[in-house]
């Protein structure tokens, strides 16, 4: 049989090229109303009074008093109201919806809403810890006594997902049932949130995925908020309604990557980091939401791709009166890998050692303990991968040459990504279910996984067709609709192919055995590999069933007058187990790295007293075709026993190494240590004037 990795054309190319694919804004329903959001104009305080203008016939206000169920959006940590009942915790917090048939009228009405507040002093510094974690490994602090210490601090700022399609839903009532069609990653997150907000029975809420115009984590938990708001409006007004954000609203109020600060102290013995103490903080914004889970993924990655015997690790989520932060491809790992890769680089420099050799000396190997005393069970191919990247990029020679030339540099990052939910999430919280239905000569894939561009529709149909040895046209996979598909879990955490695909593959094997039967359905549920044991409270055990690994090399030139960074070329090697479709994986590799590089040097987002200063695509610069350089990518096969054909996670891995690699390249180019990203021309100037050599 053909190797499954050999690429095929994506099944949705045709519709997407011709403009036929239906995104949420493309749906039109007779008599559809529009919803605009009334928002706070202060960052902290209490609403004293709201005066709405007189509403014309057919216009409505929907607020917290209309929420029939619980006025809380169900996410991992439940602390975000559907509509505030009076307390304001961040600027532009949603207060109510104005709903009606004409956008111009709604805009006008919106301007006439008068709200008076009892203002309070908002908190923007990181002092209000709402989640605190601590764990150690080996002898913890005790191991550090009497050793030389090297300390550095690292900082990362916001990153915006900047999907080209903004957030949105349309919805409609059918008797006492509410149906929402949305640009979402997680149909069942939305469904469960709406059930709670409406206090409705399960069969009274239906969620359908429209074609998704990019998500990158941004459509993981945020859609639950606006889905609940819209569902409340529909159940009150009993008409179809559209709630779609314009770009400015999307930029100002949706979740972003958590800014972070990391303090590392390395304890040195025999030219090795023998012990590591880390104190990590992330800015959660006004709500906790997913921040605790983001923090734990970051903390678990604290040793990077390396083994360190003794650890003392702690971290906090700080609540501030700023827009809530949330999921973004990588989920805490990009922040930590930036910090830890720079730290290894900086410690090596202080010890006057070659940084690559220093890193290779610490590299995690098969059967080593992870930071949480789990085990890297599968072969770790990093030494070979590094060798490959060195050969292709001529890293050693360039690294040496650029030591003596100015404004040219090359950097290398080593990293991994833990595939699937952290810890026992799959087993205890998600409990993924899948169905395959055979009907005559067709096989239907019934799962809740969303194709948001990463190619799920193609790769899953290909997977099932390959196992059954039938034509891909006979395998059907429609956009998930919660009335028809079981909850196979959210489309997040690089879990879709490895975890859901693993279950689908098991189901497909059963379908194959019974293939001569006409019509039947196979139901399968996630089974956790027995060796996975993890204790969330103590951070002990196997945090992930498997790891994908990567190496990025980035070469840059910095303009000596303007300090503009010009990326010349990148070389990457990834171990993702096995590619289910090589071309799709290459697309993920390029796209992820582009986002990771831009995170490192280009994308600037900040707030001033709680107000996000970049409100459109002119202010918030993402890469254009002009910013891109040639990218070479190589894949190493290293099949994982429980993934389909050995596949592990892909989606997030490719974002993680970009920022540290570009930062190290810039560091070499300017001969000054880099401690924060993005490395903008302003920061480069500051380093050149006052930085550490």
């Amino acid at each position: 049989m053909k190797d499954i990795s050999i690429p095929i054309n994506k099944v949705d190319n045709e519709d997407k090229c011709s403009g036929k694919a239906m995104y949420v804004a493309d749906y039109k329903i007779e008599g559809m109303l529009y919803a605009f959001t009334v928002r706070s104009s202060i960052a902290k305080g209490e609403i004293l009074k709201i005066e709405y203008p007189v509403l014309p016939e057919g216009y409505f206000i929907v607020d917290h008093r209309d929420v029939p169920g619980k006025n809380i959006v169900k996410v991992i940590y439940d602390d975000m109201p559907v509509f505030t009942s009076g307390k304001i915790t961040y600027l532009y917090e949603p207060i109510s919806l104005i709903v009606g048939p004409k956008k111009e009228v709604l805009n006008d009405l919106l301007k006439q809403v008068k709200i008076s507040y009892q203002e309070e002093e908002p908190a923007f510094d990181w002092t209000d810890s709402v989640v605190h974690y601590h764990f150690d490994k080996g002898d913890g602090l005790n191991a550090f006594r009497g050793l030389d210490r090297i300390e550095y601090n690292y900082e990362t700022s916001y990153q915006e997902q900047a999907y080209i399609e903004t957030q949105g839903f349309i919805g409609y009532p059918e008797e006492d049932k509410v149906t929402l069609v949305g640009s979402i990653q997680c149909p069942y997150y939305v469904k469960n949130a709406v059930i709670q907000a409406l206090g409705a029975a399960e069969d009274k809420v239906r969620i359908i995925q429209a074609t998704v115009g990019g998500a990158f984590g941004g459509k993981e938990e945020f859609p639950s908020l606006i889905g609940c708001q819209l569902a409340v409006a529909i159940s009150k007004i009993k008409k179809p309604i559209q709630l779609i954000y314009e770009r400015e609203e999307d930029m100002l109020v949706t979740t972003k990557r958590h800014p972070s600060r990391v303090n590392f102290v390395g304890y040195i013995k025999n030219n090795r980091i023998y012990g590591l103490k880390a104190v990590v903080g992330i800015d959660g914004g006004a709500n906790i939401g997913l921040s605790g889970v983001v923090l734990s993924r970051a903390l678990i990655a604290c040793t990077g791709a390396y083994s360190i015997e003794h650890l003392d690790i702690s971290g906090d989520v700080f609540r501030t009166n700023t827009v809530p932060n949330g999921a973004f491809r990588g989920f805490g790992a990009p922040q930590m890998f930036f910090a830890v890769e720079m730290f290894f680089e900086h410690v090596a420099k202080r010890l006057k050692l070659d940084s690559l050799k220093f890193k290779l000396n610490h590299l995690a190997r098969q059967n080593d303990f992870t930071s949480t005393m789990g085990i890297f069970r599968d072969p770790v191919l990093m030494p070979e991968m590094v060798e490959k990247v060195i050969k292709e990029s001529d890293y050693i020679k360039k690294r040496k040459d650029y030591e003596d030339s100015s404004f040219k540099g090359i950097g290398m990052s080593l990293f991994f990504h833990g595939c699937g939910f952290t810890g026992s999430g799959e087993q205890n919280h998600i409990k993924a279910k899948v169905k395959l239905k055979k009907d005559q000569d067709k096989v239907y894939i019934l799962i809740a996984a969303v194709d948001m561009g990463q190619g799920v529709k193609t790769s899953f149909r290909k997977l099932v067709a390959h196992i059954l040895d039938i034509d891909i046209e006979r395998v059907i996979f429609d956009n998930p609709d919660t009335d028809f598909v079981p909850d196979s879990g959210p489309t997040v955490a690089s879990r879709t192919m490895m975890i859901v695909g693993g279950i689908v593959a098991r189901a497909a094997k059963e379908v194959k055995e019974r293939f001569n039967e006409e019509t039947f359905t196979v139901f399968k549920q996630y089974e956790q590999p027995e060796y996975i044991k993890y204790d969330e409270a103590s951070f002990k055990g196997d945090a992930y069933p498997a790891y994908s690994w990567g190496v990025n090399v980035v070469e840059v030139e910095v303009d000596k007058d303007t300090y503009q960074v010009n990326i010349k070329k990148t070389w990457s090697v990834y171990d993702i187990g096995k590619a289910i479709d090589e071309r799709i994986v290459m697309g993920q590799a390029d796209g992820g790295l582009a986002q990771g590089l831009a995170y490192g040097y280009l994308e600037v987002m900040n707030h001033k007293r709680g107000k996000i200063m970049q409100k459109n695509m002119t202010d918030y610069i993402i890469p254009t075709a002009m910013d891109m350089c040639p990218m070479e990518t190589y894949l190493f096969e290293n099949p994982y026993a429980y993934g389909p054909y050995g596949a592990k996670g892909v989606g997030e891995l490719s974002l993680i190494g970009g920022a540290p690699a570009v930062a190290m390249a810039i560091e070499q180019a300017i001969k000054k240590k880099v401690f924060k990203i993005p490395v903008t021309p302003e920061y480069i100037m500051e380093l050149i004037n006052n930085g550490e050599n």
């Binding site: 190319n13 080209i164 561009g453 002119t618 075709a625």
Partner: protein
């Protein structure tokens, strides 16, 4: 209100409406042509791109008044041509389509570029695509698609 006449995907149209409305809204709402997308609404992303007298324009930044007597081609119209087939196959072959939200605009940009320059260099391709944002692909595979189209499209442009 004003009567505006223009050619849309090969057919003559006349519409009586507010001439300051954005072409994008008129296409999507009045003609139900939803291939052009709204990504930013301010001329930055190219998701709403269409051809106006064979030149690429961002339809979100064009008031309908400017369309008077012009010829507009949207992705729906363009997708009926042989050139489209070549470009589409090139996008498939290169892997240039992910979420697809930028894709109609990218294809319009490709047509506009190849129409002027059938053998663009890498740099010329980058310039040709620089008005269209894509957050998914990192552009290289789209650049590759344009190269493939320029090779296989011999004689069509």
């Amino acid at each position: 209100m004003a009567k505006i006449k223009f050619k849309l995907n090969g057919e003559l149209k006349e519409i009586d409406t507010d001439p300051s409305r954005r072409l994008l809204d008129v296409l999507r709402d009045d003609f139900n042509l939803t291939g052009p997308k709204e990504g930013c609404g301010e001329g930055e992303c190219g998701a709403c791109a269409v051809l106006m007298n064979q030149e690429i324009v961002n339809s979100c930044s064009v008031p309908l008044a400017n369309v008077l007597d012009k010829e507009i081609v949207t992705i729906e119209g363009f997708s009926k041509t042989k050139r489209y087939e070549v470009i589409k196959d090139a996008f498939a072959k290169a892997g240039g389509v992910q979420c697809g939200f930028c894709t109609p605009g990218m294809i319009i940009a490709t047509e506009s570029l190849l129409n002027k320059n059938l053998n663009p260099t890498d740099f010329e391709i980058k310039i040709g695509l620089s008005g269209n944002l894509c957050r998914c692909t990192g552009y290289n595979l789209i650049i590759e698609a344009v190269k493939i189209a320029s090779k296989t499209g011999e004689g069509l442009w």
